[in-house]
C-alpha cells in the first residue's frame, strides 16, 4: 500500500512532465521568437522600453483569452466576449461621465462604482449566455454569436455610435507598480486565479470532466447546467475586466473596439493547446501563446518598418499570427509522428 502510494505520486509527476511535451515545445518556440528578434533587431526589441510597451499591449487580448479558454474546455466557446467587454466599458464610461464630471461625485467613489457596474454588466451578459447554453440548449457557437450581436447592437443603441470619452481610468492603463504596468499585473493575477481554479477546485475538475464527456458527467451526478452557467458567467466577468482595461487604455468606450480580438483569442487558445473539442487545456499553454503572439507582432512590426520604412508594415501582423498557428500545428504533427516511430523502433 505504502509503496504503491509513492509510486503513484512519482508517476504522476513524471507523466505530468512528459505529457506536457506540447507546452515544452511551445515554450521553446516562444523563447526562440524572442531571441531571434533580439538578434535581428539589436537595441530595439530587447529594451526596457519595448518590453514595457509590449506589456501594456498583450493584456487586452490576453485577458479575453481566459474567457475563451474556460468555455472551450467545457467543449463550448464564447464569441460574445468582445461585445460584452465593450458593453461593460460603456456602462463604466457612462457612470464616469455622468456622475463623475465637474461638480459630480468624488472620484474615489465614482471609480469603484463604475468598475462594479462594468463587472455586473459582464456578469449579466455571461449569465444570459449560460442560460441559453445550459437551459435552452442552444449550441454555444450559435448562442454566443447571437448575444455578440445583441451586446454590440445594444452598445450602439446606447452610444448612438460615437465613443464615450473619459480619462478618469487612464491611471490604470498608464501607471506601473514596481515597474510592472497594471494591465500586466491584472493578467498575471487572472493567470494564477485560473490555474488554481482549474487544478484545485471542484468546479475546475468538473469543467474538465464535462468537456471530456458530457453524458458521462451527467451520469456521474455532475450538475452540468450549473457548471455551464458558472462557466459562461465567469467568461462574461473576465470579459468585463478586459472592458475596464480597454477603457483605461483607450480613454474611451465604443461599441466596436477590439473587434478582431474574438478570432485572435480563439487562435491563441488553440495555439496554447486548448482543445476545441473540450476537456483539454492549461493556463501555462495559454500564457505562452499570448506571449508568443505579442513577441511576433511587435517584432515583425519593427522589422517590416525597418525594411520598408512604411507604416503598412502593421498589416503583416495578422499574416504572421496565422503563420505561427499553422507552424506550431505542423511541428506538432511531425514531432508526434517522430515519437510514434521512435517508440515502434525501440520495440
Amino acid at each position: 500500500m505504502e509503496e504503491t502510494k509513492t509510486k503513484a505520486a512519482q508517476k504522476s509527476l513524471l507523466s505530468r512532465l512528459s505529457g506536457d511535451s506540447y507546452i515544452l515545445r511551445l515554450l521553446a518556440i516562444t523563447i526562440l521568437i524572442f531571441i531571434a528578434f533580439s538578434i535581428v533587431l539589436p537595441g530595439k526589441f530587447f529594451t526596457v522600453r519595448n518590453l514595457q510597451s509590449m506589456a501594456v499591449q498583450f493584456p487586452e487580448f490576453g485577458i479575453l483569452a481566459f474567457a475563451i479558454m474556460i468555455t472551450m474546455i467545457t467543449g463550448g466557446i464564447d464569441l460574445s466576449i468582445v461585445g460584452a467587454a465593450n458593453l461593460a466599458a460603456i456602462a463604466a464610461a457612462l457612470i464616469l461621465t455622468h456622475l463623475g464630471g465637474d461638480g459630480g461625485m468624488s472620484l474615489s467613489l465614482v471609480i469603484p462604482l463604475a468598475m462594479v457596474a462594468a463587472l455586473i454588466v459582464g456578469s449579466i451578459a455571461g449569465l444570459i449566455n449560460g442560460f441559453l447554453v445550459a437551459k435552452v440548449g442552444i449550441t454555444p457557437i450559435l448562442a454566443t454569436l447571437g448575444t455578440w450581436s445583441l451586446y454590440t447592437g445594444l452598445s450602439y443603441v446606447i452610444t448612438g455610435g460615437p465613443a464615450i470619452t473619459t480619462t478618469q481610468l487612464a491611471f490604470i492603463g498608464n501607471s506601473s507598480v514596481v515597474g510592472l504596468p497594471i494591465p500586466v499585473i491584472v493578467f498575471a493575477l487572472l493567470a494564477v486565479a485560473f490555474s488554481i481554479m482549474l487544478n484545485r477546485t471542484t468546479f475546475g475538475f468538473n469543467v474538465y470532466m464535462l468537456g471530456t464527456n458530457p453524458t458521462a458527467a451527467r451520469f456521474s451526478g455532475i450538475n452540468i447546467d450549473r457548471v455551464l452557467i458558472r462557466t459562461y458567467w465567469l467568461s462574461g466577468l473576465v470579459a468585463s475586466i478586459a472592458g475596464i482595461i480597454f477603457l483605461s487604455r483607450a480613454n474611451s468606450a465604443k461599441p466596436d473596439y477590439g473587434a478582431s480580438y474574438v478570432l485572435l483569442t480563439v487562435l491563441i487558445a488553440i495555439l496554447g493547446g486548448i482543445s476545441y473539442t473540450g476537456g483539454v487545456g492549461k493556463v501555462s499553454g495559454l500564457v505562452l501563446a499570448v506571449l508568443s503572439i505579442q513577441f511576433l507582432s511587435t517584432g515583425l512590426n519593427m522589422l517590416m518598418l525597418q525594411l520598408s520604412g512604411s507604416s503598412k508594415a502593421i498589416f503583416f501582423r495578422q499574416f504572421a499570427w496565422g503563420g505561427l498557428l499553422l507552424l506550431v500545428m505542423v511541428i506538432n504533427y511531425y514531432s508526434e509522428k517522430w515519437k510514434d516511430k521512435r517508440a515502434s523502433e525501440a520495440a
Binding site: 500500500m1 504503491t4 502510494k5 509510486k7 503513484a8 505520486a9 508517476k11 504522476s12 507523466s15 505530468r16 488554481i196 487544478n199 484545485r200 477546485t201 471542484t202 475538475f205 468538473n206 474538465y208 470532466m209 471530456t212 464527456n213 453524458t215 458521462a216 458527467a217 451527467r218 451520469f219 456521474s220 451526478g221 455532475i222 450538475n223 476537456g279 483539454v280 517508440a343 515502434s344 525501440a346 520495440a347
Partner: protein, 497 residues
C-alpha cells in the same frame, strides 16, 4: 487433406515492444465455420487484422489460396476474397441501404454518373441472396444493429467474399437477432462461404462453429474440431484455470422496511404498473429482451426518465426522484449500460474517473482540492478493486474492458451508495474478469448494499442474483427463483412472447 483457404504459420507481431502475437498458427478450411476465441487482449483482433492486410506481421508465413504472400495489402486481401466485418461495420450511416451495398461497384466501374436503377437492383439482389428484405431507401443510421450487420454481409458478398471474418458479431444483438444471424450464416456456409467468427460468448461459439481456435496471451492454445470442446474446456483454455460459479442465496429479513419499494410505477408507453421490493443485501436481477423496459426501469429509478404514476420509497420513506441529483441524494448509484459513452471519461486519467463523484469531499485548507487526499483515494480504490494499471494517471482508455468496468464501479463505490443499479455489469468483459466482478457484487451485497442487476446474460443472472424479475413489454411478468430454474428454461422464458 482438407482444402485450405488460408494458412498462417509462426506469426509474430509486436507493438511498441509489447508482444501481441507469438508463434501463432492458423488454418482456415474452405466452406467451414471457424471460431477464434480468447479473452480481451489475447491477440484476436491483431490476428484478423493481419489476415485482412491491415497490419504487417513481423515474422511468419502466410499462404492464401495457394499463394505465398511476403507482404499482404488490404487490396490484395479483398482480391483474395477476404472480407472483414468489424464491430463498427464500416458502413456510411448517412447513406441509404442500397447505396451502402452497391455504390462500391458503381465507383469501381468508374462511371461518371450514378445509375440509380442499377444501384437498387444490385442491392435488392444482394439482400435476396441472404433472404432478407430491408427498405432500400432508408438511411443506414436508422437501422438496428442486426440489420446493419446484414447490410455489411450483403456488401461483403457483392465484393465476392470467399472468407467472411466477423469481429464479435453478436455482442450487440438480442437473442432472436442472434438466431436470425446464425441462420443466414448457415445458409451461406451451405453455398461454400467460409466464416471466421471472433467471439467470447462460449454458448454461441459451441453452437455455430465447426472448427475452434483458442488464443491466450498471443499464443495458440489449441485448435480442433468442435466435437473436441465443451464449455469447461474452453473456459480453462481461455483463462488458464478452472472457474466454478457459486450461486448467491439470500433471504432478506422482511420484518424491516425494504431498501427500495417500487409501487405501481408507470411511464407512458414504456413502463406499466411496476411493483417490487428490494431489501438490503439482496441482488435482484431484472431481465428481458431489448425494449422490454429493463433499461427504462433503471433510468426511472435514477431520475432520467420521468414517470407518470407510481411511488418509489427508500427505507420506507416515499421519495420523488426527478433528477440524477435526487437519485444520488437518496443513495442510488447507477453503472450504465454503455460504459464508453455514459460511464467513463476515456481521455481523463483513471484517477480522475475514480474520484469524480467524491472530489468535492476531498478538500483541504481554504476549500481547495487536496492532492494528497485525492491520491490516497485513488490508490485505495485501484487496490481494492485490483484495477490492473501501471499508473493511475494514464487515461482510462488504456484499460481493458474488465478494468474499465472496475473503474466505473470504483467511482460509485467511493460515494458509498445504498442501492447500486448495474445495467449490463459485465458486457464486453472477459471471462476471468467477469467472474471476479461477480464475486465483488456478492461481497457488496454481503456488506448490506442492495443491488439491482439488469442483464440478459443468463449465466450471469443465475450466478449472482437471489431472485430475478422477468420483464416483457414494460411489465414485470414473473419472479423467478434461480435455484428453481436452469439456463435453458430461463433462456426460453426470455424469448417467449
Amino acid at each position: 487433406m482438407a482444402d485450405e483457404i488460408i494458412r498462417l504459420t509462426g506469426i509474430h507481431k509486436s507493438f511498441a515492444g509489447v508482444r501481441a502475437l507469438q508463434d501463432v498458427d492458423l488454418t482456415i478450411e474452405r466452406g467451414k465455420i471457424h471460431c477464434l476465441v480468447g479473452e480481451n487482449g489475447c491477440g484476436k483482433s491483431t490476428l484478423i487484422k493481419i489476415i485482412a492486410g491491415v497490419y504487417e506481421r513481423d515474422a511468419g508465413e502466410m499462404i492464401i489460396n495457394g499463394t505465398r504472400y511476403e507482404k499482404l495489402t488490404p487490396i490484395e486481401a479483398i482480391r483474395e476474397g477476404i472480407q472483414v466485418i468489424y464491430q463498427d461495420f464500416s458502413l456510411f450511416p448517412n447513406l441509404t441501404v442500397a447505396e451502402n451495398i452497391a455504390l462500391n461497384e458503381e465507383l469501381a466501374e468508374g462511371r461518371r454518373f450514378v445509375n440509380w436503377r442499377n444501384v437498387y437492383r444490385v442491392a435488392e439482389d444482394a439482400l435476396a441472396q441472404i433472404d432478407v428484405q430491408l427498405p432500400l431507401k432508408a438511411r443506414v443510421e436508422e437501422m438496428s444493429v442486426a440489420n446493419k450487420q446484414l447490410i455489411a454481409i450483403s456488401k461483403a458478398l457483392r465484393q465476392n467474399a470467399q472468407v467472411i471474418i466477423m469481429d464479435e458479431p453478436t455482442s450487440a444483438l438480442t437473442e432472436r437477432e442472434v438466431r436470425a444471424l446464425f441462420s443466414v450464416i448457415r445458409k451461406l456456409e451451405a453455398r461454400g462461404i467460409t466464416f471466421l467468427f471472433v467471439s467470447h460468448k462460449l454458448n454461441e461459439v459451441l453452437e455455430i462453429s465447426e472448427k475452434i481456435i483458442v488464443l491466450r496471451n498471443g499464443k495458440n492454445v489449441s485448435q480442433g474440431n468442435r466435437s473436441e470442446y465443451d464449455n469447461r474446456r474452453l473456459v480453462r483454455e481461455m483463462t488458464g484455470h478452472d472457474i466454478t460459479t457459486k450461486r448467491y442465496t439470500y433471504t432478506p429479513d422482511k420484518s424491516s422496511e425494504p431498501l427500495l419499494r417500487v409501487d405501481g410505477l408507470s411511464a407512458k408507453d414504456l413502463l406499466y404498473e411496476i411493483s417490487f421490493d428490494l431489501y438490503a443485501g439482496e441482488i435482484v436481477g431484472v431481465t428481458g429482451l431489448l425494449g422490454s423496459g429493463r433499461t427504462e426501469l433503471a433510468l426511472a429509478l435514477f431520475g432520467t426518465l420521468s414517470i407518470d404514476a407510481g411511488q418509489i420509497s427508500i427505507n420506507g420513506e416515499p421519495v420523488k426522484i426527478k433528477s440524477i441529483q435526487d437519485a444520488i441524494a437518496h443513495g442510488i448509484g447507477y453503472v450504465p449500460e454503455d460504459r464508453l459513452t455514459e460511464g467513463l471519461f476515456l481521455e481523463r486519467s483513471i484517477g480522475n474517473n475514480v474520484v469524480v463523484r467524491i472530489i468535492d469531499r476531498l478538500r483541504g485548507t481554504l476549500g481547495f482540492t487536496d492532492p494528497r487526499r485525492v491520491n490516497a483515494q485513488i490508490d485505495h480504490w485501484v487496490n481494492a478493486l485490483s484495477i490492473k494499471t501501471s499508473d493511475p494517471s494514464l487515461p482510462a482508455k488504456t484499460l481493458s474492458g474488465g478494468n474499465q468496468q472496475r473503474v466505473v464501479l470504483a467511482k460509485w463505490l467511493a460515494s458509498e451508495p445504498n442501492l447500486l443499479i448495474m445495467n449490463g455489469p459485465t458486457i464486453g468483459v472477459d471471462i476471468g474478469s467477469k467472474d471476479e466482478l461477480h464475486e465483488m457484487m456478492k461481497t457488496l451485497a454481503g456488506q448490506g448494499m442492495g443491488l439491482l442487476v439488469i442483464s440478459d446474460d443468463i449465466p450471469e443472472l443465475l450466478a449472482t442474483c437471489n431472485r430475478i424479475l422477468l420483464m416483457r413489454h414494460g411489465r414485470i411478468v414473473e419472479e423467478i427463483q434461480p435455484a428453481q430454474t436452469n439456463e435453458n428454461e430461463l433462456a426460453a422464458k426470455l424469448i417467449e412472447e
